[in-house]
Amino acid sequence: MEKKDEFYIGYMNHLGEGTKRTTKRFVLFAIGILLLGAISFGFFQKEAVNSTFDFNAPTKISGTYQEAPYPMLRVKLGEGTFKNVLLLGFGKFGANSYLDDIKQKEGNLNGKHLTIEGNLIYYNGKTLLEIDDSQKISLTNSKVKDYVLPEVMGKQKLTGEIVDPKCYFGVMKPGYGKIHRSCAALCISGGIPPVLVTSDNNTLSEYFLLTDLKGNPIHKDILPYIGQPSLLRGEVEKMGDWYTMRIDVSQIEKLDKKSSIY
């Protein structure tokens, strides 16, 4: 009877014994739920990969500039060893607008030796460089050097997921799939090259830069296909240590399955 007659009024300091007990139990229960939630949500996360974005450690790299299909710098690592570093802009933009100043001053940069200071992004053997200031690009040798011509590898049918390489190779974790899809669409729309990350057992590569059938860059047309398991067909070429794939965007087949590119 006493328990039933307990009545809590918020602006009074008195709490009945039963009410006090119930309140304490609820608080302990709620904190227990939070603790259980923190342990479950903290423990059961997919592990992020060791991709890296050196956002607070700028690096200066020099190499031969290659414009098509997407801006790259072919950097000499040792005698006969080169790495093609894909160039990107700040935020969700490609590198082209940062290269405009120097192109206006020096003309065609293709095959010329540039030095660029930027922030490296790297994972699984691939390296990219984010440029955040056009003033950090300088021409170190205006003489056109030989650069590698594309090597035709033939037609391929590949499955995988189209990503933006900036996020995928280090800026975001995870930089793929449904959660990241909108961001990837903005990046590719802003000029970052689309990359197919394969999930099949092809013998060439895990990564393919995508172009249209003529080898030109594609951005807006490919947006509806980003971040979803897909099947692509096209002519593959090798450019240094990157592969490119010429595709007809309208022929991309979306696959009804879970992403498995990691």
């Binding site: 039933k4 007659d5 307990e6 009545f7 809590y8 009024i9 918020g10 602006y11 300091n13 709490l15 009945g16 039963g18 009410t19 007990r21 119930t22 309140t23 609820f26 608080v27 709620a30 904190i31 739920i33 939070l34 603790l35 259980l36 939630g37 923190a38 342990i39 479950s40 949500f41 903290g42 423990f43 059961f44 996360q45 997919k46 592990e47 992020a48 990969v49 060791n50 700040f90 935020g91 969700k92 933009f93 975001m172 974790k173 995870p174 799939g177 449904k178 959660i179 990241h180 899809r181 909108s182 961001c183 669409a185 903005l186 990046c187 729309s189 802003g190 509806p224 979803q228 992403s259």
Partner: protein, 343 residues
């Protein structure tokens, strides 16, 4: 009560309650971050913040949503209900951190406005699995923002309790949007049955408690009694009403609370003018009907808040025939004095 907002906002219990909220949130964040750093060291700080605050907000929302029905089922939960607003605002702040970091991370620094980008960067609105889940989270955040920013008696008074309460019921819309945001977003990639299971159990708990409460209340609404020749309704026997307490009946389309106190019976409209609290679940304290939700008071014989307060509810006429209590279903104007029936 309604004249001085500070009276309702701060007291010893509220301060303790706020400290517990802060401690609980801190505990969650520390455990989540520690586990993430230990088990998933390659993750980025932004991802960790987005996940920590998003998961914290959804758990807090579940805790908030069970308080209402628990208080209806057992009045001993009322101290939690009384202080629920601070929990709601804290949950909004957690959701805001999640939303702000997500928008900055995924939608800024692009070639379009970030808000426009939320809506347009994924246009698969016709697909369920590819649906742009960010839009759902953004809409929920707007609702939570509206609710948190009006979570003060100033807005309650100015918007009118009915509109205020009605608009704050949008929390259920926000909850639905958040569930879809999580199931069509994070759970498409983070597929652990444990984390998904927690949210499913939470949903079942929230839904079940609301259904049980609704079932209990529907029994009141199903009350049916024949009118006598004068149009009065027999409602119960006088012994069924405990002292200083009430029984609630649906008379016509209105819920009415019949109180027994000091050997008398009085009937007033069941809905408190403050936030629509069930007066019939309250108690007579210092001679006044006291609302269980926030302690608003009304004199039982005239439905008026004691001076200087001005709230009024409708009153009803009662009759006693032996032990049987009868009510005139036609209520009086709010605040009309009615002679109590002696029992």
């Amino acid at each position: 009560m309604g004249l001085d907002y500070k009276l309702v906002l701060w007291n010893k219990h509220k301060k303790t309650y706020d400290k517990i909220i802060a401690l609980g949130m801190l505990l969650y964040l520390v455990v989540f971050v520690a586990l993430t750093l230990a088990l998933n060291p390659e993750t980025t700080a932004e991802t960790m913040i987005i996940r920590a605050f998003g998961s914290l907000a959804i758990l807090m929302l579940h805790i908030i949503l069970v308080i209402g029905p628990l208080s209806r089922l057992n009045p001993q939960f009322l101290p939690i209900l009384y202080n629920r607003r601070h929990l709601g605002v804290s949950m909004f702040l957690a959701a805001l951190v999640h939303g702000a970091f997500s928008i900055i991370q995924f939608h800024t620094l692009g070639d379009v406005n970030p808000i426009y980008a939320i809506i347009t960067s994924n246009m698969d609105y016709g697909s369920l699995t590819n649906f742009p889940f960010q839009v759902l989270g953004f809409l929920a955040l707007l609702i939570l923002f509206y609710m948190a920013s009006t979570s003060h008696d100033f807005f309650l008074k100015n918007l009118s309790p009915k509109i205020w309460k009605g608009l704050h019921m949008m929390v259920y819309l926000a909850y639905g949007l958040i569930l879809m945001h999580v199931f069509l977003g994070a759970f498409q990639q983070e597929t652990s049955p444990f984390t998904i299971g927690i949210i499913i159990v939470g949903f079942i708990t929230v839904t079940s408690l609301h259904l049980i409460t609704a079932f209990k209340e529907s029994k009141i609404d199903k009350f049916n009694s024949e009118k006598n020749s004068e149009g009065w309704l027999e409602v119960c026997e006088v012994d069924e009403i405990p002292n200083d307490r009430a029984k609630i009946f649906t008379v016509g389309n209105e819920r009415v609370a019949i109180f027994k106190y000091e050997g008398k019976l009085s009937a007033i409209h069941n809905v408190c003018k403050h936030q629509g609290g069930p007066l019939g679940e309250g108690k007579i304290v210092d001679g006044c009907v006291t609302c269980p939700w926030h302690g608003y008071q009304y004199l039982p014989h005239n439905g008026q808040s004691p001076p200087p307060f001005t709230e009024k509810v409708a009153t009803y006429e009662l009759r006693l025939n032996g032990k049987k209590v009868y009510i005139n279903p036609n209520g009086f104007e709010e605040g009309t004095e009615v002679q109590p029936v002696t029992c």
